[in-house]
């Protein structure tokens, strides 16, 4: 089938060249690259933003975007991100965290030094809250340490939802009823509010993985969960993100990627660690600066 040369997202004519310009703009800001086969996805988001801003042509919208009128860049980024996730997703990695990663991490900790865990991207909070709940439920040493959990995402709308902490039943599907009973309260039809003790314990921040400058405030994490985001990046952005993640981890810190992602194809900076529950990647304790 021949692809049409122009589409009409939001009832406005948008040419392929317009879409290419928009995609390049999104790429430069976020590292996410949308190829031609994602045209439908792009059109829908573009239509949403054209309608929301009241622009009467693509050029008018693009001009709003470039001048960042009313924070349109962030609105567009929010529209392009995917936030569909659920609690206890890829549970085997959470198991790996308590059975292998944390014992190795605490072994090297000085008294009083916190354990720092980062979820990036954290979407609407399911992942950082899952980490917290998993630790409470499954790690017998949880009360012996101060634990910091940070959730970061480029989508500010998702971060707001994470801070509020209300979830639909579908997001809780993988949680045992007893766990739901301990950490959630009903909040209307098919909705649950997470324990305010948890919402108050986790720090949510906006972060752009491909922005080197943005990443400089994130340092000294023991574990980073960075799942299912690098697949949206092109090779350059992936490598740049890997270099940033290297800087964000402590020496010896671990990074957990999504099940379809592998760091070995992105960057040689990390050591592959095969544990019984998961394969994770480690920033070497001592930099391998061999010549």
């Amino acid at each position: 089938m021949t692809r049409a040369q122009g589409h009409r997202p939001g009832g406005i004519h948008v040419s392929q060249e317009d879409v290419r310009r928009l995609c390049e703009f999104v790429y430069r800001r976020t590292g996410m690259w949308f190829a031609d086969n994602k045209r439908y996805y792009v059109d829908r988001r573009l239509a949403e933003r054209i309608a929301a801003t009241g622009a009467d042509s693509f050029l008018a919208y693009f001009s709003l975007l470039r001048s960042d009128a009313n924070h349109e860049i962030q609105h567009l980024v929010n529209a392009f991100t995917v936030n569909e996730t659920y609690f206890y997703r890829e549970e085997h990695q959470l198991r790996c965290m308590t059975s292998d990663l944390l014992p190795s991490i605490v072994h090297g900790k000085k008294a009083g030094e916190p354990i720092r865990i980062w979820s990036i991207p954290c979407a609407t909070g399911e992942e950082p809250y899952s980490i917290a709940i998993w630790l409470m439920e499954n790690w017998s040493e949880v009360d012996r340490y101060n634990i910091e959990i940070v959730g970061s995402d480029i989508d500010t709308r998702a971060l707001e939802a994470a801070t509020i902490g209300i979830y639909g039943e579908r997001a809780l599907n993988r949680l045992p009823p007893s766990v739901i009973g301990r950490y959630f309260q009903p909040a209307g039809v098919d909705a649950y509010r997470i324990d305010p003790g948890l919402t108050n314990s986790i720090q949510f921040t906006r972060a752009n993985l491909v922005d080197v400058e943005d990443m400089r405030r994130y340092r000294d994490f023991d574990i980073a969960f960075c799942r299912n985001v690098l697949i949206y990046f092109d090779d350059t952005s992936r490598r740049s993100a890997a270099e940033s993640l290297y800087d964000c981890l402590c020496p010896g810190g671990y990074i957990c990627l999504g099940h379809s992602e592998t760091m070995s194809r992105i960057s040689p900076l990390f050591r592959v660690c095969r544990f019984s529950d998961a394969i994770v990647y480690q920033r070497p304790e001592h930099a391998d600066d061999g010549r």
């Binding site: 917290a132 340490y145 900076l269």
Partner: protein, 204 residues
């Protein structure tokens, strides 16, 4: 609860100026060079300094950061800084250069004619591989030009392999001519027949 809220609210310390970062590329401290290389990505004024640093840098992770920085900048000067490594005797450096240059198809396009007619057959072979990420029309035109002149069977094989993946039917005459010219090299005739079959299938 055992959780403490992170104090991650303060901004990072201000980034050093571009000039300081360029100077830091020659620091004796590995981490300083690494940080400088990372900070200079996308900075056109730093390309010459990054190129010089890459030539002298021996620490793999700093080399990688310099290459990433050059790819993020991606202008003609960045491409020119990466091209010499196609001739490196070090296979790791050649691979890194190929990977980096493949990410810059528009940037390397002006250099392709010269690379594909380079006097060194290894460079021509790697140049054929660089074409793999090009749009099909450009790739076919460039590789047909190569096939028409090329005397080295391995270089032709590399070009035929890329054409099999992304070539268009316009490549058929050059492919047939190549098979005839290398009639005594059975593997190449076989590769050409596979390429023609795949291009025909893709078209059909």
């Amino acid at each position: 609860m055992p959780f403490i809220k992170s104090k991650l609210t303060q901004e990072a310390a201000p980034q050093a100026s571009g000039a300081s970062q360029i100077a830091a590329l020659s620091s004796p401290d590995v981490d300083t060079r690494w940080r400088a290389a990372r900070a200079l990505g996308g900075n056109q004024e730093a390309v010459a300094a990054l190129a010089t640093a890459l030539a002298g840098e021996r620490v793999p992770r700093v080399r990688q950061a310099i290459i990433t920085a050059l790819v993020r900048t991606g202008d003609d000067a960045s491409v020119a800084a990466l091209l010499p490594y196609l001739r490196s005797q070090d296979a790791g450096q050649r691979s890194a250069a190929i990977e980096a240059l493949q990410e810059l198809p528009e940037g390397i396009l002006p250099f392709m004619t010269s690379l594909l007619s380079d006097s060194d057959s290894d460079v021509r072979l790697l140049a054929a591989e660089l074409v793999r990420n090009f749009p099909a029309v450009h790739a076919t035109r460039l590789l047909c030009g190569l096939l028409e002149q090329e005397q080295h069977a391995n270089v032709c094989a590399a070009a035929v392999d890329v054409l099999a993946e992304i070539g268009t039917p316009e490549a058929f005459p050059a492919l047939h001519a190549c098979a005839e010219r290398f009639a005594g090299t059975p593997f190449l005739s076989f590769a050409v027949s596979i390429a023609i079959a795949r291009i025909s299938d893709a078209k059909g």
